[in-house]
């Protein structure tokens, strides 16, 4: 399916869910999300549900004082909206690899250089996270007995990670230059829709029209 459709659809769903005052519309969106989940593998469904329920529970706890003052319907509505919104985002994340999402961003006119920064941020969170973990393991292995001054090593770890990240950034820029980069990053955009894309558009248009239809219900 066209990645930009998934992205735009989930954005509109989140927007309309947050604007909606109708419990029926929330039920329609919930049903739609469950149908989409049915087409996914077990572990992916578990991941989406876990993420959504944790976020919803967090929202519920935050708004609990309001419920204690008698605003139960409002608190339950917020928790339900958070559940549906996070599920919509988690569905995009579970069904689309990051490479497709970055292409989708490009097709909805997000500047390519901004996408490059996002791509690199994700890469370096993963790489530098691994580096920090290795350094903490090394620190743990060299800490014999009880160490009351554990925080003293943190500045050293932070400094080393900073220097390594600078080194990696310089080296990566050199690698990009060697492959013809001159300041303009080009992301390939998939053009044209397939029959499945048109079915997806039709379903989404139907759901979003129900938003207006069910407002008064």
């Amino acid at each position: 399916m066209h990645p930009s459709l998934r992205l735009v659809s989930s954005f509109l769903l989140i927007l309309f869910v947050s604007l909606s005052r109708s419990i029926y519309f929330l039920a329609v969106v919930g049903t739609y999300e469950l149908v989409v989940m049915c087409l996914m593998s077990g572990p992916k469904i578990a991941k989406v549900l876990k993420t959504s329920f944790v976020a919803s529970l967090f929202a519920f706890v935050i708004f609990l004082p309001s419920a204690l003052w008698g605003n139960w319907p409002g608190v339950l509505a917020v928790a339900a909206k958070v559940l549906l919104s996070v599920a919509a985002a988690a569905l995009v994340s579970a069904t689309s690899p990051w490479s497709e999402i970055s292409r989708a961003l490009s097709s909805i006119r997000v500047p390519d250089i901004f996408i490059l920064v996002l791509d690199l941020a994700i890469k370096y969170i993963s790489l530098l996270g691994g580096l920090v973990l290795d350094m903490l393991y090394a620190l743990k292995l060299r800490s014999v007995g009880r160490n009351r001054d554990k925080t003293a090593s943190l500045s050293g770890v932070a400094g080393t990670v900073f220097l390594k990240s600078k080194e990696a950034a310089d080296e990566m820029y050199a690698a990009m230059e060697c492959r013809g980069f001159s300041g303009t990053y080009r992301v390939a955009v998939r053009r044209g829709f397939s029959a499945r894309d048109y079915v997806f558009i039709a379903v989404n248009v139907l759901i979003l029209s129900l938003f207006f239809f069910l407002q008064g219900a």
């Binding site: 690899p97 990051w98 490479s99 970055s102 791509d119 690199l120 994700i122 890469k123 993963s126 790489l127 990696a168 080296e171 990566m172 050199a174 690698a175 990009m176 230059e177 060697c178 492959r179 013809g180 980069f181 001159s182 303009t184 080009r186 390939a188």
Partner: protein, 241 residues
């Protein structure tokens, strides 16, 4: 094809290359040998115009390669298309979100049409037997897979010269054998190869000439690869074996 005339280069705190004179012919396979910190990697960076000589001159097909010369984007792109560089640290070279996009990065920067890019990317993946990796995230691959993807991302531009910095480092024996056979086939196709290496066991049959660096960052000997590798006393004296 490549000529270095009395080239010197220093980093802020230390010299890296001292009075290097070197000539590399088209189609030649040259091994750069020397102890750690002798200047091999700096020389490879210089050949790729990532750093420029502070003294002396670097000539590529008779044209002097300097910062001013490469300011013109067309000249820079054409130069980088002709000289491909495989970094020692593959993580530095892989920054896209899928293997396909990684390999397609160079041709996209060169402004090739998407149909031509797809053909080139598929050819490069087939050549290195990494078609199955196409949708994977590059920085989550194993060391050997990363090296192959990095090599494919260089070869997709069809460079005349392949510059490699310790390509065998950190690879398992099977990948090393694969890479050795691959370099031999690349060489047979007429490409020029310049490679810094320590892994003599796995590069047999790849090189016809070697250039040896000393700890003083000088080029102390150039000659037939087999002859230099056979001279144990010389290699021991220069901290190479």
């Amino acid at each position: 094809m490549i000529q270095l005339r009395d080239v010197s280069f220093s980093y802020a705190d230390a010299p890296a290359l001292a009075h290097i004179d070197l000539h590399i012919e088209r189609g030649e396979a040259l091994a750069l040998i020397g102890p750690n910190g002798s200047g091999k990697s700096t020389l490879l960076k210089l050949l790729n115009a990532l750093v420029f000589p502070q003294a002396g001159a670097y000539l590529f097909d008779g044209e002097e390669i300097s910062h001013a010369h490469l300011k013109d984007q067309h000249v820079a792109k054409s130069f980088h298309q002709r000289v491909g560089f495989l970094f020692q640290n593959s993580d530095a070279q892989l920054f896209c979100t899928s293997v396909y996009d990684e390999i397609a990065f160079g041709p996209r920067q060169m402004g090739l049409p998407e149909s031509e890019i797809e053909k080139r990317v598929n050819d490069s993946m087939r050549l290195l037997d990494i078609e199955a990796l196409s949708p994977r995230i590059p920085y989550h691959l194993s060391g050997g897979e990363k090296r192959k993807v990095a090599l494919a991302s260089v070869l997709v531009l069809n460079p005349d010269i392949l510059v490699l910095d310790e390509p065998m480092n950190g690879l398992d024996p099977r990948t090393k054998h694969f890479l050795r056979d691959f370099l031999i086939s690349i060489r047979a196709s007429g490409k020029t190869i310049v490679c810094a290496t320590h892994d003599f066991e796995y590069v047999e049959g790849v090189f016809d000439r070697a250039a040896v660096f000393s700890m003083k960052h000088e080029l102390v000997r150039t000659g037939a690869y087999a002859e230099i590798i056979g001279d144990r006393d010389f290699l021991m004296a220069n901290n190479i074996v």
